[in-house]
Amino acid sequence: MAGNLDHAVDYSAGMLMEATHIADWLIIAPIILTIVGGALLLMLREKTKLHGALATLIMGLLVLVDALLLARVLDVGPIAMTMGRWLPPFGITFTVDAFGALMALISGVVALAVCIYSLVEISVTGRRFGFYPLLMLLMTGVTGSFLTGDIFNLYVWFEVMLISSFGLLILGGERIQLDGALKYAILNLLATTLFLIATGLLYGAVGSLNMADISLKLPAVQEAGAPIITIGALYFLAFAMKAAAFPLNFWLPASYHTPNIVVSALFGGILTKVGVYALIRTMILLLPDTRIILSEVIAWVAVFTMIFGALGTLAHNDIRRVFGYLVISGIGPMLVGVALGSEEAISGAIMYAVHSIIALTGLYLAFGILMRKNGGKYNLSDVGGGYKASDGLSILFLVLAFGIVGLPPFSGFWPKFILVDASIHAGHGWLAFAILFSGFLTTISVGRVWAHAFWRGGPIGTTDGQLGMPLQGLTRSVRSKTYLPVGALVVIVCLIGVFPSPLLSIVQSGTQSLLNPERYVSAVFSAATAQQKAKQAEKAQQPKDHEDTVKGHDTKTEPMKQEGAH
């Protein structure tokens, strides 16, 4: 087996001596915050009264830290931090560019809104079962997925996210939840296993797990005949399943309507977008050639996702399931962005993801308020009289609904506009048509929800104008804790709609680092290059004739000497 020595590795060249810059500790601050918060809440499991306030505080801090991180990334470009003392190709690296930081910030904002809303929605039982620790750990997984720069580490964060989401999904232990959770659990586990298979094969082909390193090494490996296209297709399959793209979406409508409405809101907003994030990251940054080959497949998947999702919204009576199909339908435009792959299209996809997280969570939460008022009814035939009971709520709901379907002047308009424009520029008018057509269908659908829930006087069977049953008023403290998060999300939806340019410039900076990964890559290797420079300077001081003989030996032992000195 002597030939196998070719595959041997020499790790001693990889010792990291440079400490991470103190400002760059911001990278892992969100994860430390949420994981410590989750542990803290678990320790306080006897004192569930404290849970709500503490969790809200930690989520508030998380938003703050994410915002600081985004500001730092926009200021100095992509930043990286390597765990332990191994240089990037060996150690686990956290790498943040504007795309990852933006997604982390937006999901932090949404999680804060959900956390405030949950103060009234989650009962004592829910707290005892550990709603808040699970919420914290879910956010750990989500934020970790956005911030990591290591593909195996991404798998680990996916699993952290997945196991917390299982816990949240079956929190009440009702029959319907067990049924929904089974389908969700098995299919999602299958998707992450596919992801792991692809990662194993990629490691076998490239010999590295660091995303920046892979993107550097991949062209040479591909030339040597490694089955990169197969690996890319596996990644696409796994992440499309995570993102609930068309033929792989059936776990979502089976499960997302079963848990508490705050859990649905969080899942509908964030979880599928993590799949989209991973898809964009792998397809655009890691495997650009595979994306070009698969682009037609991705485009068709996108079209079917949009149209079938939109038809699903029209076919269901349960409003929560209508929203579930809205989530699916909203995945399509982001896939269009991936399929086209131009700078404009990717910007559109990222902006759509940001908008979709905010607007969908808001929509679920706004419907949650209506459900509180009408005593938990969620079928289109049983709701009604919302406008009479609360005109404010009906307007908030309408704004979010228009935002989702992409009507101006709300947040959904700009990303859809950009994507339609990009499709036409790329000569794919049918993609633009699909986006607009699915927008039309979902407009009918959310319009119908609004008309039934708010506009008409009462449910089916009652004389119009008369309430079938009086809607309950909410107490002052319940009102403040439910309307505040929904109102805040509506404000964001309107702001993005009216002033899209600040968000657009952040998104474009994220797109830049995906398409031109030089800065992303150099951020990862900056510690390494700094070390190499130091070494070169050291060598320059040595007598010149020594240089060649010392060279091979030098890289191997020198870091070790330094370590021995520590």
Binding site: M1, N4, L5, H7, A8, V9, D10, Y11, S12, F90, F152, V156, E159, L162, I163, F166, G173, R175, I176, L178, D179, A181, L182, K183, A185, I186, L189, L190, T193, L196, T199, G200, L201, Y203, G204, A205, P253, A254, S255, H257, T258, L314, A315, H316, N317, D318, N379, L380, S381, R448, A451, H452, W455, R456, I460, K556, T557, M560, E563, G564
Partner: protein, 125 residues
């Protein structure tokens, strides 16, 4: 050696896919358990197999003497084993609870979340 393991991986994958196409949850769970092992063996095999040169550092040295086998695939598999094992435990409990509550382990008969006789949405408006 790699050929034998590759064949084993293939067998594992086919068995797990066959089991997962069943409609009975307990078979699906068994399929997932085998799938986890198939994936771990895949990582192990694609990380290249070497027996003769363990990555062990001699007592009096700071670095391993000469090139060694790559320990990283084993670290990866260790992580993957822990994760797939814990998920299997969770799924077993979930399936058992579902069997208690729903009285069946036939996935096709489980229609609580998606009832077959669901009302159509109203056609007014």
């Amino acid at each position: 050696m790699e050929t034998i393991l590759s064949i084993l991986v293939g067998v594992f994958f086919s068995v797990s896919v066959y089991l997962m196409t069943s409609r009975y949850l307990i078979r699906i769970i068994l399929g997932i358990a085998i799938l986890g092992n198939a994936v771990n063996l895949t990582i192990f095999t694609s990380g290249r197999l070497m027996r003769e040169v363990p990555p062990i550092i001699p007592l009096d040295a700071m670095v391993p003497a000469g090139p060694t086998a790559n320990p990283l695939p084993q670290a990866l598999i260790l992580t993957a084993i822990v994760i797939s094992f814990s998920f299997l435990a969770f799924l077993l409990v979930l399936v058992y609870r579902a069997y208690q509550e729903l009285g069946t382990d036939d996935a096709v008969e489980m229609r609580v979340a998606e009832p077959a006789d669901e009302d159509l949405p109203p056609v007014s408006f």
